[in-house]
C-alpha cells in the first residue's frame, strides 16, 4: 500500500513535466498560439511515445498503466494543455488494422472528441483531425471525419476548438469495453487536478509578494484560510485520483466507483480552485493577460466531460466498495 508517485513513476512525472512545460507552456495562450495541439506538437508527442503510455508493448505502447497515464495528464492540465492530447491517447486503443493505430501512436493522424449535443454532436479539438472519437461508458466509436461537415464555433476555452458536427461520418472502428471510458476519466480528472494545483500555486506565490495595508496578502487570514481550503480540496482530489488510477491498474472490482469519485472530486477541486484564484488575485485576476481565466475556462469545459456532477453522483450512491 503506497499512494504517491514513487520510483520510475517519479521519473516519468518529471520527464512529462519538463516536456510539457517546454513544448506546451501555458504562456503560449498569451503569445498567439492557437487552440489544440497542432500537427507539429502532435508529431513530437507521438515521437516521444506519450500517447501510448498505457498501451501494451505488443501493441506499440510503453506497457505502463493508468497510473503513468494520470501522471502525464496532470502535467498537461497544469499547462492548460488541450483535450485532444487525451483523445489521441484514447484513440490509440483502437484495434482497427491497416496501420491506423500506428499512425495515431506516432501522431501522424489526429483525433478529436465527439460529444452528443441534441440531435448532433459537438467536436472538441482540431477541425483538421482525421478521426472523431465518441466515448461511452461501455465502449467508443471511431468516426472517419474526412467527409463530415464541420461548423466551427467561437470557443470560450482558448485551449480547445469547438465545432458543431451534425453527421460525424462512418464508424470505422468500435472499441469495446469500459476501459476506454475509464482511461478517459483518469486523464480528464488528472488534467483537472493539474489545473487545480496550478491555480493554488499561482495564488500562493502571488500572496507572498503582493502587499496590501503594509503586509503581503498571504499574511491576512482572509487569504490564508481560502488558500488552506483550496489545499484541502486539492489534497482530497489527488489522493482519490491516485487511489482510482491504481485500482484500475490492479483490476479491482470497485475501480469504477473510485474513478467516479475521483472525477467528481477533481471537478469540484478545479472549479473551486480556479474560482478562488481569480477572486484572491483581485483585479489582475480578471485581466486577459493573466493565467487565471485560462485555467477557469479550461476547468469549466473538462468538468463536463467523462462524467459531470449529476451523472457521477447518480452512479456513486449505491456503488459497493472493497477494503
Amino acid at each position: 500500500m503506497y499512494l504517491a508517485p514513487e520510483g520510475e513513476e517519479l521519473e516519468i512525472a518529471a520527464a512529462a513535466a519538463d516536456f510539457i512545460a517546454d513544448a506546451l507552456p501555458i504562456e503560449r495562450l498569451h503569445q498567439g498560439a492557437g487552440p489544440d495541439m497542432g500537427a507539429e506538437l502532435r508529431a513530437s508527442l507521438g515521437e516521444m511515445g506519450w500517447f501510448a503510455l498505457a498501451l501494451p508493448e505488443g501493441d506499440g505502447g510503453s506497457g505502463l498503466s493508468a497510473v503513468e497515464h494520470a501522471l502525464f495528464f496532470r502535467e498537461v492540465g497544469r499547462q492548460c494543455g488541450p483535450l485532444d492530447i487525451l483523445v489521441q491517447a484514447l484513440a490509440c486503443l483502437s484495434t482497427y488494422d491497416g496501420g491506423l493505430r500506428a499512425a495515431l501512436i506516432a501522431g501522424e493522424q489526429g483525433a478529436a472528441l465527439l460529444v452528443p449535443d441534441g440531435m448532433g454532436h459537438r467536436l472538441i479539438g482540431a477541425a483538421d483531425a482525421r478521426y472523431g472519437l465518441a466515448v461511452m461508458h461501455q465502449g467508443a466509436a471511431l468516426h472517419d471525419l474526412a467527409v463530415a461537415k464541420i461548423e466551427p464555433r467561437p470557443a470560450l476555452d482558448p485551449a480547445n476548438s469547438l465545432a458543431i458536427v451534425n453527421d460525424p461520418g462512418p464508424v470505422i472502428d468500435s472499441i469495446e469495453g469500459a476501459y476506454i471510458w475509464q482511461l478517459g476519466q483518469v486523464g480528464v480528472a488528472a488534467m483537472l487536478l493539474g489545473l487545480a494545483e496550478a491555480a493554488l500555486d499561482a495564488i500562493v506565490e502571488y500572496a507572498k509578494v503582493r502587499e496590501t495595508f503594509g503586509k503581503p496578502i498571504g499574511a491576512w487570514q482572509a487569504v490564508r484560510h481560502a488558500c488552506a481550503d483550496m489545499a484541502v480540496s486539492n489534497e482530497g482530489a489527488r489522493a482519490q485520483l491516485w487511489y482510482a488510477a491504481t485500482a484500475l491498474k490492479e483490476g479491482r472490482g470497485d475501480a469504477q466507483a473510485h474513478l467516479d469519485a475521483a472525477k467528481h472530486l477533481a471537478n469540484e477541486a478545479a472549479l473551486f480552485a480556479t474560482d478562488a484564484t481569480i477572486q484572491l488575485h483581485g483585479g489582475i485576476g480578471v485581466t486577459d493577460e493573466h493565467n487565471a481565466h485560462l485555467l477557469m475556462k479550461h476547468a469549466a469545459l473538462l468538468a463536463r466531460l467523462f462524467g459531470g456532477r449529476n451523472e457521477l453522483l447518480a452512479s456513486l450512491l449505491h456503488a459497493e466498495l472493497e477494503d
Binding site: 498571504g218 491576512w220 484560510h225 489545499a231 482530497g236 466498495l321
Partner: protein, 393 residues
C-alpha cells in the same frame, strides 16, 4: 503506487476480525457516568489480556508495535465489528496522549509505573491543557506552579477536561517560571487526580451532557518526580503529545464516517418524503448523499496515503490538519443532511446518544470542528506548514 496490503497486513486483518467477532461485548456502552468508564476499563483490560492493547505503541513498552497501516486496519475492523470505539472511550487520553508522551519523554521510573497501568485499563487519564483564557492559543496559559523544595504548588484552573471525574491521572501543563512568557517556562506533570485541593465542576454542553469539566487547583502540592520531560521545558513535552494526535489520533473518526454514510443511505431508503416516496429517490437528497460519500472516499484515500508515507519516513507530516478540516466539514454536512432525512424524529432528543444518535452527532459536529484545534487553527497550520505562506501572527 500500490493498493495491495502485504500478506502480513492481510493476516493481521484476518486475525483481528476473528478475534473481534468472538470478543466484542454483547451489550452497548452505557451512555455516560461511572458505568461508561467501567465499561471502557473492562474492554481495555480484555484487549490487554489478549494482546490487543497499545496498537500505536512500540513493542518495547508493551504495545503491539503496529505499523500505521496496520493501525488503520485495526480501526476498520473495530468499526466493522461494532466494537467499542477507541475515540469516544474514556481511555483515549491515556492511550493516545499520556502513554506516547511518557514513552517519548518519561523517566525509567515513570515508564515502569504508568505504562502497564495505562495498557491494562487500570489508569484512566484526562487532559489539563486548555484554560478559560487559553484555548486555541495554548501558550497563553496561566495556571501556575511554584517550586518549593521537592514539590510544585499549583494554582489556577483548567477547562474542557473530558471525563475528569473518572480519570485517575491528568496530563497537566502549567507555568512554573513566573517570569516566563508564552512557550517558555512551562512544565508537563503527570498529576494524580486523588491529590487534595482540586475541585471538578462539570460544564453542561448543548448536547445536554456533562462529560467536560473545569478543574480548579488551590495550593495543590505535586512532587517534582511528577515532571515529565524538563522542568520549565513543558512546551516541548506537550508538542510531542499533540504531534502524535495530529498524526494518528483521528483515524477512528475518519473511518467511522464511512460507516455513517452507509447508515444514512439505508435511512434515506426507509424514510419517506411528503410525496410518499422513499427519500433516496429525491434527487437532491441522493446527490448530496453521493457527494458526501465521495468525500469520505477521499478521506480514506488521504488517510492511507498519509499513513503509508509516515510508515516510510518515520515522521508524521503536516497533513493531519488538512485531514481534520475535511473530516469535520464532511461530518457536519452529513449530519445536516440526515437532520432533513429524519423528519420530526430529528427533534426528539433527551441527551442520550443511544436514543437518537443522529441528533447527537449533529450537535457533536460543532464539538468536532472546535476541539483538538478548531478549523480556523487548522487552516492557520495548513497555511504555515503546507503552503508556507507569510506568518499571520
Amino acid at each position: 503506487m500500490d493498493l495491495r496490503f502485504s500478506d502480513e497486513d492481510l493476516d493481521f486483518r484476518a486475525r483481528a476480525r476473528d478475534w473481534l467477532a468472538a470478543n466484542v461485548p454483547g451489550t452497548p456502552r452505557p451512555a455516560g457516568g461511572h458505568a461508561a468508564s467501567q465499561f471502557d476499563r473492562d474492554w481495555q483490560k480484555k484487549l490487554y489480556e489478549h494482546g490487543w492493547a497499545g496498537v500505536a505503541w512500540p513493542k518495547d513498552f508493551g504495545g503491539m508495535g503496529l505499523s500505521g497501516l496496520q493501525q488503520v486496519i485495526w480501526y476498520e475492523e473495530l468499526s466493522r465489528a461494532h466494537a467499542p470505539a477507541a475515540h469516544i472511550s474514556t481511555t483515549y487520553v491515556a492511550q493516545m496522549h499520556a502513554g506516547p508522551t511518557i514513552i517519548a519523554r518519561g523517566t525509567e521510573e515513570q515508564k515502569a509505573y504508568h505504562l502497564p497501568r495505562i495498557l491494562s485499563g487500570e489508569a484512566l487519564w484526562c487532559q489539563g491543557f486548555s484554560e478559560p483564557n487559553a484555548g486555541s492559543d495554548l501558550a497563553a496559559l496561566r495556571t501556575s506552579g511554584r517550586v518549593e523544595g521537592d514539590h510544585i504548588v499549583v494554582n489556577g484552573a483548567k477547562m474542557w477536561t473530558t471525563d475528569a471525574m473518572h480519570a485517575d491521572w491528568m496530563e497537566l501543563l502549567i507555568r512554573t517560571d513566573p517570569a516566563s512568557q508564552r512557550h517558555k517556562g512551562l512544565t508537563w506533570l503527570a498529576f494524580d487526580m486523588k491529590t487534595p485541593g482540586i475541585d471538578i465542576k462539570p460544564i453542561r454542553t448543548m448536547l445536554l451532557d456533562e462529560h467536560v469539566n473545569m478543574v480548579f487547583f488551590d495550593e495543590v502540592r505535586v512532587p517534582l518526580s511528577a515532571v515529565v520531560g524538563q522542568l520549565h521545558g513543558g512546551w516541548s513535552t506537550a508538542m510531542a503529545t499533540l504531534s502524535f494526535e495530529r498524526g494518528l489520533g483521528f483515524i477512528a473518526d475518519q473511518l467511522e464516517l464511512f460507516e455513517k454514510v452507509g447508515r444514512a443511505v439505508r435511512l434515506a431508503g426507509e424514510m419517506r418524503g411528503p410525496d410518499g416516496l422513499p427519500l433516496i429517490e429525491d434527487v437532491e437528497v441522493a446527490r448530496k448523499l453521493a457527494a458526501i460519500k465521495a468525500e469520505t472516499m477521499a478521506i480514506r484515500a488521504m488517510t492511507l496515503a498519509d499513513i503509508a508515507e509516515t510508515d516510510r519516513t518515520g515522521m508524521p507530516g503536516p497533513k493531519g490538519s488538512m485531514m481534520k478540516l475535511k473530516v469535520t466539514a464532511t461530518h457536519k454536512a452529513l449530519t445536516r443532511l440526515v437532520s432533513d432525512i429524519l423528519g420530526w424524529q430529528f427533534f426528539e432528543f433527551d441527551g442520550n446518544r443511544d436514543n437518537n444518535p443522529w441528533t447527537h452527532d449533529f450537535l457533536w459536529s460543532w464539538v468536532f470542528s472546535i476541539a483538538g484545534g478548531s478549523s480556523e487553527i487548522q487552516r492557520e497550520i495548513t497555511a504555515d506548514r503546507v503552503l508556507e505562506l507569510p506568518r499571520s501572527r
